[in-house]
Symmetry: C2
Subunit: 129 residues, 2 copies
DNA sequence: CGGAATCCTCTTCGATACTG
DNA sequence: CAGTATCGAAGAGGATTCCG
């Protein structure tokens, strides 16, 4: 159907982890991007979402299914096979994710710079504890 | 400077609380919207953000100041007066918030409908516990 | 292969009370 | 007025192990 997902698709070194925009829960936007190119199997999704445990991936997929963002198709085979696919509603999030990425491309460096400058300043006002 | 903020600005009855898009932490986007019309004082912000405790508002404002989204200006008066104002970086979030609101206007009803239909279905697959 | 069951930590948020 | 200081509850997320 589509090429295998690149395991480095979401490199943790990338500062996108500091991105102040979140769609759904922690992994939702990444799942949407993984499914952008077509349907994928459970294990296929685990590769680019490095570090995600099966429990959390299941939770994420269930919540997305509940909200009508994806569909789940189980094939009665052995070994079992399950495929997830974006719905039209799920695909509607792609534009929003693109907007968030565009904001990050344009402004995240400034945010991180401000943060660093603040953290390096001894006079800076500190968070409450 | 500007008109008083409407205490019903963020009506909790509005399903925007179910919006699957979040900017910063829970209150960040609302603070940005409160500051859209100009600088505001601490207590002024508490009215529309109903239910926020001073501690949490302080945390939110501190984090936003650290990230260069707002500036804080304290006047040496008695009683004290402090004003918060959006920076250019903070204003850059307005477009993103508008995009999120537009998505919600167009698609949130479908999401909530899917959720309800799913929850009403006895055969539906339930979240992990 | 695609999960489920269990346990646990960490952060976030809120309630309450007090202060310069 | 504009915060601080504590305390506590809750839930998200993760580690580990096991199953049809």
């Amino acid at each position: 159907m589509a090429d295998p997902l690149d395991p480095r698709m979401f490199d943790p070194v990338c500062p996108s982890s500091a991105m102040p925009i979140q769609i759904g829960d922690k992994w939702t936007a990444m799942v949407v991007l993984c499914l952008e190119g077509g349907r994928r199997r459970f294990t296929e999704l685990r590769a680019p979402l490095r570090g995600i445990t099966p429990k959390v991936l299941t939770q994420t997929l269930r919540a997305m299914e509940r909200d009508g963002l994806i569909t789940r198709t189980a094939y009665d085979e052995n070994p079992p096979r399950v495929e997830y696919e974006l719905t039209a509603l799920g695909r509607s999030l792609l534009a929003l994710i693109a907007a968030a990425r565009a904001w990050s491309k344009d402004h995240l460096p400034a945010l991180l710079e401000a943060r660093e400058a603040h953290d390096d300043s001894p006079r800076a006002r500190r968070p409450l504890r």
